[in-house]
């Protein structure tokens, strides 16, 4: 097994220390940093995503794989010139104002991160203004907005209206999710997409950027 295969395997096994050690070893032996990322770390994480989808892997294992991925990425990243670090884009996510239900939104955040997005997690009880401000501050590509209650989901259109009035609507895509929501509701309020769960959220985000 090549060292890159070993790194990929370490990511699949969710062994952060092992991945960090192997990454150091690879760098010491002169493997190009971008190679380590693309053909080791990201390759392993891609397999993790597939195995999660087919039911061979379970969520806590995926999360540990994500940590292992970043244990390696953290070592390689400083060696890359600006802009060469592959990132799929930046997503600002949060649970809408008045709502503290955030476990589903946190899941989406972790899955987006594991698949290569930069995630800014605003937490729960987030006002439309804060969503838009954070999108501006972080130069975001996506806003991910979650609601668990029919009484709070009705604030989601405000996020979109605010983006429009700030002239950002063309730049920032909006995806929504949460128990009372549906594709129909997303269409009705003018959101770009709806995701029923965290796996789909990653697929949707990939399509949006």
């Amino acid at each position: 097994m090549s060292i890159l295969d070993e790194i990929a395997q370490g990511v699949i096994e969710g062994e952060a220390t092992k991945v960090a050690d192997l990454t150091k070893k690879a760098l010491d032996t002169g493997v190009p940093p971008l190679d380590i990322i693309n053909n080791g770390l990201v390759l392993g994480m891609g397999k993790v995503g597939e195995m999660f989808k087919t039911g061979e892997m379970f969520l806590p294992e995926v999360i540990f794989s994500g940590d292992a991925l970043y244990a390696g990425v953290g070592l390689v990243k400083p060696l890359l010139t600006d802009g060469s670090m592959p990132s799929k884009g930046t997503a600002v996510i949060g649970t809408i104002k008045g709502d503290l239900h955030d476990i589903g939104k946190n899941l989406v955040g972790m899955m987006l991160e594991s698949s290569g997005f930069t995630v800014v997690n605003l937490g729960a009880d987030v006002s439309p203004e804060s969503f838009v401000q954070a999108a501006k501050d972080n130069n975001a590509d996506i806003i991910g907005c979650s609601a668990m209650l029919t009484t709070t989901m009705i604030l989601m259109p405000d996020v979109i209206k605010l983006l429009e009035s700030e002239g950002l609507r063309n730049k920032v895509k909006v995806m929504i999710g949460g128990a009372p929501l549906s594709p129909e509701y997303a269409a009705k309020i003018g959101a770009d997409s709806y995701a029923p769960d965290s796996t789909t959220a990653v697929e949707v985000a990939n399509e949006l950027v």
Binding site: F58, L59, L100, T150, T151, A179, P180, D197, T199
Partner: protein, 490 residues
């Protein structure tokens, strides 16, 4: 007759005996929950409730409240060990005490499965009317809940409209919730319109109101404020966290019950501080996150196991408990829905949980189905027979009858069989026991098809007892006032 004498020291199981946790294990879990509240504490987002807890002796640091164990133990002692719920006419119906078990549906689903069209769609007030009618009709469903957040009305008053639908379409006790204090006020006024006065309602309550903290260890402003409101009004209060093992609680069953109990205790302490002796029912929904699909599972065996374990702890604390059963992860009424419904109902009954809710839930609680509710009613009938156990005495042992029939005879013609066969055996209404040919002759129907027919029959034909015209008008007026209030806020 064999026994002409009095038996001494004879211990009989009057019902099937079951427990998950020993008394020592219950105690250890209760102690651990108190330790969590002492050491880690809880975030309470309502300043008034924080003040209340502080005055009672809790330690408040910003939003975090930590609880001395003495305060918790005081609250557990102060809460009554029994809560009685009445029907709409004030007649006592549900005695939430000891190991009495009652079943009912669940609240606030985002979709309903229409029993006429088979369509999965957003709920309307008509769906809650249907739910209320089914609850009213079904003999083994003891109370009513809304079975969906209705979407055809002003969304901020959805809870008030669904309560109207329940109140006017069933006399059975109602368990309900609302978004916030103004809606609680509306619902309370509707109850008073029926009962005559708050005092009458307090004397013979036909409603229990619930609210939900957000595990781990968070109590939103509305959740705790609503609980304190209900306590202040002297009405039965359900405080019901909804926990997911591995996600919002530890992945271990014991740790999940620890947190579940800790969450409930915060509501209990606040309620008892607001009004000593508030009738309190601890919750609630306790299951796992499926680590493959990430749903909160309503059909996992762990849901049944955790609920039974939680009920054991509640019984140890002598507090009535709001438990879960009759629900499924299946998306349609199929054998999976049946299996998960049956297992969870049997376990809930065995655990002696007081108020078992979420009958009629399908699709991991996302959708409600009156057909599922109708099926659960039949399952509960079977389970009630099992729980009754085996009565053992000279008459039921029937040694004399066996002797008179003798080897090779039969019992069909004995007076003993005539006396007992109906009492000792349960006869089904939806379960089919015909011979094969008879079943074929009646159209090869699956139980699902028979359930659909019965559900449609109930909705089309059952006429629940009506409220007097004047009461209905008062209720309408309350809703109108609520609409004006909401309009003024926009």
């Amino acid at each position: 007759m064999k026994s002409q004498f009095v038996k001494s020291r004879y211990e009989a199981n009057e019902a099937v005996q079951f427990n998950v946790l020993s008394d020592n294990q219950c105690e250890e879990i209760f102690h651990s929950a108190m330790e969590v509240l002492r050491r880690t504490g809880s975030k309470v987002y309502d300043p008034d409730s924080r003040d209340l807890l502080k005055k009672g002796g809790a330690f408040v640091d910003g939003e975090v409240v930590k609880f001395p164990s003495a305060l918790i133990e005081w609250a557990v002692r102060t809460a009554p060990s029994r809560v009685v719920l009445c029907d709409r006419n004030g007649k006592a119906k549900l005695f939430l005490e000891g190991k009495n078990v009652y079943f009912g549906p669940g609240p606030s689903n985002n979709f309903v499965l229409d029993p006429f069209t088979g369509e999965r769609r957003e709920p309307t007030t008509e769906d809650t009317v249907r739910a209320a009618k089914c609850c009213d009709y079904l003999p083994n469903i003891d109370y009513a809940m809304d079975m969906g957040t209705v979407r055809n009305v002003n969304l901020t008053l959805s809870d008030v409209y669904s309560f109207e639908a329940l109140l006017t379409n069933t006399t059975k006790p109602i368990v309900h919730w609302g978004f916030d204090i103004p809606q609680y006020q509306d619902i309370l006024e509707m109850c008073i319109a029926v009962a005559g006065s708050l005092e009458e309602l307090q004397k013979n309550p036909f409603i229990a109101m619930y609210s939900e903290p957000l595990p781990p260890l968070r109590h939103s402003r509305e959740a705790i404020a609503k609980a304190v409101f209900v306590a202040e009004k002297g009405l039965p209060l359900i405080y019901t966290p909804c926990t997911m093992a591995g996600a919002t609680t530890p992945a271990t069953m014991a740790g999940t019950i620890v947190l579940q109990v800790a969450e409930s205790l915060v509501g209990l302490v606040a309620a008892q501080l607001k009004r000593e002796g508030t009738p309190f029912i601890m919750g609630g929904l306790i299951s796992i996150m499926d680590m493959s699909s990430t749903i909160l599972s309503y059909g996992a065996p762990e849901l049944a196991l955790l609920s039974a374990g939680m009920s054991n702890v509640a019984q140890y604390m002598k507090i009535p408990v709001f438990s879960t059963g009759g629900c499924t992860d299946a998306k349609t009424l199929d054998a999976q829905a049946a299996i998960q419904g049956a297992m969870s109902i049997l376990m809930a009954a065995q655990s002696g949980a007081s108020l078992v809710h979420d009958c009629g839930y399908i699709e991991y609680g996302s959708t409600s189905s009156t057909e599922m509710l109708v099926m659960d009613d039949e399952i509960i009938g079977m389970v009630k027979r099992i729980m009754r156990g085996v009565e053992v005495n000279d008459e039921t042992l029937a040694v004399d009858v066996i002797d008179s029939v003798g080897p090779g005879g039969h019992f069909l013609r004995t007076q003993h069989t005539r006396n007992y066969f109906k009492k000792e055996t349960w006869y089904p209404s939806l379960i089919d026991r015909k011979v094969y040919e008879g079943w074929r002759a009646e159209g090869n129907k699956t139980m699902g098809a028979r359930i659909k027919e019965k559900t449609q029959m109930i909705i089309n034909e059952h006429n629940p007892e009506k409220l007097p015209e004047a009461t209905l008008n008062s209720i309408k007026a309350i809703i109108q006032r609520a609409e004006q209030r909401e309009a003024a806020q926009v």
